[in-house]
């Protein structure tokens, strides 16, 4: 549904009422109100080469019905499968239509001081800690209309905090599940790994209603402390009628390490930014993201890494498949600031075109303000190599299956990296469903 993004349907008194119904601290309510005023004024983001005029970012139901889940066995099968093995389900959050529906955290992690809960609860129980990271160093509230809108209307979120020196082997998982035809998911995720800690976090976005006009406005802030490691896995899977703005941002301290593995599998129009800021010396990021565009989908992926610290390293691998009449723009920006000497930034973007009517652009951008660095980029847009097809077909595999194998292989860098079998299988299935 095409709607102009002029007037918002919400005013300060609505915001106050909504905020107090959730028992939020005063500073948070105040921030919402300021953000609302900004949301009226600020312009939409301006993604390179994708027209987002007419995209629906503002028409949605803000307050949705949600219900708690007593037992995971009561969940629909497609959600249940995602969660996987019982030991993993030991550390799980399920957010249904924006509200906490199920929560579990092992006693071991609790005793170590790990906080893993929805934003609403975190604001009530750990308000000061949330305040330290909410729209702090990683994300800016006033970046554009959509970031301000997120702050004004946030109705869903997650807060994960790992204290200093706590190293966690098992993955922690969050499932954000929407099943309302006009849902507005205004979501804010905060993941903090304090100094010398390590964590693996996996999130799934899933909408299961196909007839409506939905909006997802998501801001994620990832804080990687000095010597800390965060492995961040994500699979986005919103249906065709969901317009998505997803902005994942991170701040990496000295000798910190951040690994992204993102499967961006939405069926609807998507504006995605992923941003890593290597602030401390010796910080490292490894970013892998894969996506499929199909139908008449329009998508824009801006992946950005900034090197501020000395001896920082980044490696970016972006693979996208384009089917039908889909159009996607991939912008990869590696920026090495003055003073970030001995840094190394590498990026690779590959777009595989499977249809004549599809369009894909890969734009590699290196911005270097320091002499003593290594940087490199590779970008390509192309079709499946006919010799590869011939080789696979010469073993009896049909053309369609051969193409499918090649596509799975092409997207495998992210699939193989996801730490939860159920999520891996789900991503493989989603890919299968789109390519068939």
């Amino acid at each position: 549904m095409a709607t102009e993004t002029k007037g918002l349907h919400y005013d300060a008194s609505y915001i106050e009422k909504f905020s107090s119904s959730r028992g939020e601290p005063a500073w948070f309510t105040e921030m919402r109100k300021q953000a609302l005023a900004l949301a009226e004024e600020l312009p939409l983001p301006q993604p390179e080469k994708t027209r987002i005029i007419g995209w629906n970012f503002t028409e949605f139901e803000h307050e949705l019905e949600s219900k708690a889940v007593d037992s995971l066995n009561d969940l629909p099968e497609y959600i249940h499968r995602l969660i996987g093995k019982e030991e993993q389900a030991g550390n799980l959050l399920l957010i249904h239509n924006g509200r906490l529906a199920y929560q579990s955290l092992s006693d071991d992690l609790k005793s170590k001081g790990v906080i893993f809960t929805d934003l609403e609860t975190a604001l009530r129980e750990h308000g000061d800690l949330v305040k330290k990271y909410y729209f702090a160093k990683a994300a800016k509230l006033d970046a554009n209309k959509l970031t301000a809108l997120n702050a004004a209307l946030v109705n869903s979120g997650l807060f994960l905090y790992v204290p200093k020196n706590v190293e966690i082997e098992v993955p922690l998982q969050t499932v954000f599940w929407q099943d309302h035809p006009d849902a507005g998911l205004i979501n804010h995720v905060i993941v903090v790994a304090d100094d010398n800690s390590s964590i693996t976090y996996v999130e799934n976005y899933l909408s299961t209603e196909h007839e409506g006009s939905q909006v997802a406005n998501i801001i994620t802030e990832v804080y990687v402390g000095d010597n800390a490691t965060v492995r961040f896995g994500g699979v986005d899977q919103f249906t065709k009628d969901v317009t998505t703005y997803i902005n994942r941002r991170s701040y990496v301290g000295a000798n910190g390490r951040l690994e992204w593995a993102l499967g961006q599998m939405n069926d609807g129009n998507t504006l995605s930014e992923t941003f890593t800021s290597l602030v401390g010396d010796g910080g490292v990021t490894d970013m892998k993201a894969v996506s499929i565009g199909h139908g008449e989908q329009r998508q824009n992926f801006e992946n950005r890494i900034h090197h501020f610290g000395r001896n920082t390293e980044s490696d970016m691998l972006i693979h996208g498949v384009q089917l039908d009449k889909a159009q996607s723009i991939f912008n990869a920006i590696t920026k090495i600031e003055h003073g970030a000497s001995k840094s190394d930034g590498e990026q690779t973007q590959r777009v595989l075109m499977l249809s004549e009517g599809a369009r894909g652009d890969a734009n590699p951008i290196l911005l270097i303000d320091e002499n003593d660095v290594i940087a490199g980029h590779a970008a390509s847009v192309g079709r499946i190599d006919p010799i590869h097809l011939y080789y696979l077909m010469s073993r009896g595999i049909s053309r369609k299956d051969a193409e499918r194998l090649i596509v799975h292989g092409f997207l495998n860098p992210v699939v193989s990296q996801l730490p939860i079998e159920g999520v891996k299988d789900q991503l493989t299935e989603v890919i299968e469903g789109k390519v068939k």
């Binding site: 011939y390 696979l392 010469s394 073993r395 009896g396 299956d401 090649i406 799975h408």
Partner: protein, 262 residues
């Protein structure tokens, strides 16, 4: 199972408008091993690729039947499912697809939907064949030919041959780049396939491989066609005299046909 037959009659093949194979005829039956030998650039690999249906090669004349069916009318995958196999000189590297997944997909493509090979049976067979070919276990989980050495690629072609159990296999310079130990292993794999239901066409430049895989018939190919056929003794003569002796005997001038890499 009936004895398979691949019948090639007066085949002509061109690439980019240039004729490379010029009237090649040969019949291969189950239980037989044929060797086609010849100097570089005489069309041996072009013949192999054209029979499999390589997209770069154009058939400009002749007829090929496989068990009575018109092979040239079939798509590449149909030829394979009918029981034809080509061990390629330059196998593709397919990133992100494991050897095991690829093999299972290929086997199931032949078996058809609803008749997929049970996973345990597949693993058992794969283990057995890998052992015979002296292939390391981790091979199964590596991406298809990606980063493989020349010898590993050849061994992988033979592993595929043994897993897929075709009726007729063409081995295109399977011996090139192999040391003597690897050559023996590859030969062991091919010899293990020998049966009345399996026919084989070995394309090679050197006689060396034929010490380990005994051919029933040896054919010499020059200028795009067979110029002489005989038994294993023909290969031995070529080894001793080189191709020049035969050229002189047959009155063949050097030609400038260039072998195309697949």
């Amino acid at each position: 199972m009936a004895q398979p037959t691949l019948k090639i009659e007066d085949l002509h093949v061109s690439i980019e408008g240039k004729e490379i194979v010029k009237g090649f005829s040969l019949e291969i039956k189950g239980g037989e091993i044929h060797a086609v030998m010849g100097p570089n650039g005489t069309g041996k690999s072009t013949l192999a690729s054209a029979l499999m249906g390589h997209p770069k090669y154009e058939i400009t004349g002749g007829k090929v039947t496989f068990d009575g069916q018109d092979l040239l009318e079939m798509e590449v995958d149909e030829r394979a499912r009918a029981g034809l196999f080509l061990a390629m000189q330059y196998p593709s590297e397919i990133s992100g697809v494991t050897n095991a997944d690829f093999l299972r997909t290929a086997i199931n493509a032949r078996r058809g939907e609803g008749n997929e090979i049970p996973v345990m049976q597949f693993i058992k067979k794969l283990d057995e064949k890998m052992k015979l070919l002296d292939i390391d276990e981790e091979f199964a989980n590596r991406y298809l030919n990606e980063g493989f050495s020349g010898g590993e690629k050849k061994r992988n072609e033979i592993l595929q041959l043994m897993m897929l159990e075709p009726k007729i296999a063409i081995l295109d310079e399977i011996d090139s780049g192999l040391d003597i130990d690897a050559l023996k292993i590859v030969a062991k794999g091919v010899n293990a396939m020998r049966s009345p239901e399996f026919g084989c066409l070995i394309i090679t430049h050197y006689q060396r491989l034929l010490n380990y895989i005994k051919p029933d018939k040896v054919h010499v190919m020059m200028q795009g066609r067979i110029v002489k056929s005989g038994g294993p003794e023909l290969a031995e003569r070529l080894e001793a005299e080189g191709y020049d002796g035969l050229k002189k005997e047959l009155g063949i001038e050097d030609d400038e046909v260039v072998e195309q890499e697949a």
